[in-house]
C-alpha cells in the first residue's frame, strides 16, 4: 500500500442502562473492503479502544440473521432508522453516527427493547385461530394471486423502523404504529383468519389504535421491506368505517 491506510470514523450514542444519560463516543477503525456497520461494531468489540486511544467497554448491539429478515439489528444510522446489517460503509457519509431507536426503551448502547410491538400484535389478535376440540379439517383455499399479494404484507419482521419514523408514536401517545396494523390486514385477508375479522377490527378501533394515525406516511417511506403500510392503513380505515356502522346500528353480522 503506497498511500496512508484508510480509516472509518464512527460516532456512537451510548448509555450504560435504560435510566442513565447517554454520551457520545468516537471510534476510528481501519477501512476494509465491503465492510458494513455490523462488521465495524464487531471490530470495536474485538478491540474496544476509542479515538482518544483509551480502552473502553465494547459497544453492545442486537443482531441475528445478518441478511435483513429478522429486524433485530435496527438502529438509527446517520439520522435514519434502518438495519445495520445492510448499512454498507461505502454508501454512508462519514463520520457514521449510530444511535439506538429511542422510540423504544434503550437497554444499553444500541440495544433496544421491542416488546411493545409484540404486545401490540397480541392486542390486535394478529394470528389465525385454528385450534378446536376436534380436527377442523382443511380451511378454505386461497387464490394464488391473493397469496402472492398477501406475501408482501407477511414480509414484516417487526423491526420497529416504521414506529421510529412515525411522529405519532411517542411518549405522549399510545399509538401502536403501522406494523401491527398492517398485520391485521394480513390476518383479515387470510380465508381462515377472516372468520375473526370483526374481533381484530374492533381491537384496532380501541385506544392507541388505527385512529391515531396522522398520515405523515413516514412509515411507508422507511419500511425496509417495502410493505404498502399506508395502503394497509387506508384499507383498514374503510373496513373500520363499515364496522363502526355495523356496531352503531346494532347489526349482529360478524363474518361475511
Amino acid at each position: 500500500m503506497g498511500e496512508a491506510a484508510k480509516t472509518v470514523i464512527f460516532e456512537i450514542e451510548r448509555r450504560n442502562s435504560t435510566d442513565e444519560n447517554s454520551y457520545w463516543e468516537k471510534f476510528e477503525l481501519p477501512y476494509k473492503m465491503n465492510m458494513n456497520v455490523i462488521s465495524a461494531l464487531m471490530e470495536i468489540r474485538r478491540n474496544p479502544v476509542n479515538m482518544d486511544g483509551k480502552k473502553t467497554t465494547p459497544v453492545t448491539w442486537d443482531m441475528n440473521c445478518l441478511e435483513e429478515v429478522c429486524g433485530a439489528c435496527s438502529m438509527v444510522i446517520n439520522g435514519k432508522a434502518r438495519q445495520s446489517c445492510t448499512a454498507l460503509v461505502d454508501q454512508l457519509e462519514q463520520p457514521i453516527r449510530l444511535q439506538p431507536m429511542k422510540t423504544f426503551p434503550v437497554v444499553r448502547d444500541l440495544v433496544i427493547d421491542r416488546s411493545r410491538m409484540f404486545d401490540s400484535l397480541k392486542k390486535v389478535k394478529a394470528w389465525v385461530p385454528i385450534d378446536g376440540t376436534h380436527d377442523l379439517g382443511e380451511g378454505p383455499r386461497m387464490p394464488e394471486r391473493k397469496r402472492q399479494w398477501a406475501y408482501e404484507l407477511s414480509k414484516c419482521m417487526t423491526c420497529g423502523v416504521c414506529l421510529e419514523a412515525c411522529p405519532n408514536v411517542n411518549d405522549k401517545s399510545d399509538f401502536i404504529g403501522a406494523a401491527p396494523l398492517s398485520q391485521v390486514r394480513l390476518m383479515n385477508a387470510h380465508p381462515t383468519g377472516a372468520m375473526n375479522r370483526d374481533a381484530r377490527l374492533n381491537a384496532i378501533m380501541g385506544e392507541g389504535g388505527l385512529a391515531s394515525c396522522g398520515n405523515s406516511q413516514n412509515c411507508v417511506e422507511s419500511c425496509p421491506k417495502g410493505i404498502p403500510l399506508t395502503t394497509s392503513i387506508a384499507a383498514l380505515n374503510r373496513d373500520t368505517t363499515v364496522q363502526m356502522f355495523r356496531n352503531f346500528f346494532g347489526s349482529d353480522r360478524m363474518v361475511d
Binding site: P167, K172, A211, G214, N218, E221
Partner: protein
Amino acid sequence: MDNNREFLMRRLHSLLGIIPIGLFLTQHLIVNHFATQGEEAFNTASHFMANLPFVIFLEIFVIYLPLMYHAFYGLYIAFTSKNNPGHYSYMRNMLFIAQRYTGVFLVVFIAWHVFETRFQVAIGNAAEADFNMMENILSNPWMLAFYIVGVLSATFHLSNGLWSFLVTWGITQSAAAQKNATYFTLLVFIVLSVIGIRALFAFV
C-alpha cells in the same frame, strides 16, 4: 383496547373539518368575493347572510360548535405529535407538520377574526359586519398581512384536510389513488386561495 371513544372522536374530528366547516369556509370565501364587485354588492350579500332565518341557530350548530370541537381536539392532536422533519423530510411528512402549524395558527386567527367582526356586532359596537368594517381593518398593512396568512392557512388546512379525510374514511387507498387526491386537493387549494385573496384585496 376495547374502548373506542378515541376512534369515534377522531372520526368526528375528520368529518366536521369537511362538513360543515369546510363547506362553511368555501361559502364564506365566495360571499366575500362579492367585494370585488364593489361595496354595494358585498353589503347586499353580507346583509342577506346576516339576516337568514334562525341565523343564530345556524351559527351555533353549523359554525361555533363544530369549529370549537375541531379546534380544541385538533390542538390536542397537534401537541401529541413529535414532528421529525429533519431526517424524514418526505413531502407527506412536511404537509403533516404544516397541517399542525396552520391548525394552531388558525385557532388564534379565527378567534381574533370573530372577535373583531361578529363579536363587535353582537355587543353592539357595530351595526353590521359590512364593507366599511373590513376596509378599516385591512387599511392597516400588518392586519392585511395577518389576514393574508390567515386565509392561506385556512385554504391549505382545508385542502390538506380533505386529502386526509379521504384516507381516514378509507376512500383513497392505493398510492396511486392518494397521489391523484394530492393533485385534486392542490387544485382545491389554488382555487380557494385565489378567491380568498382576491376578496381581501378588494377591500384595500
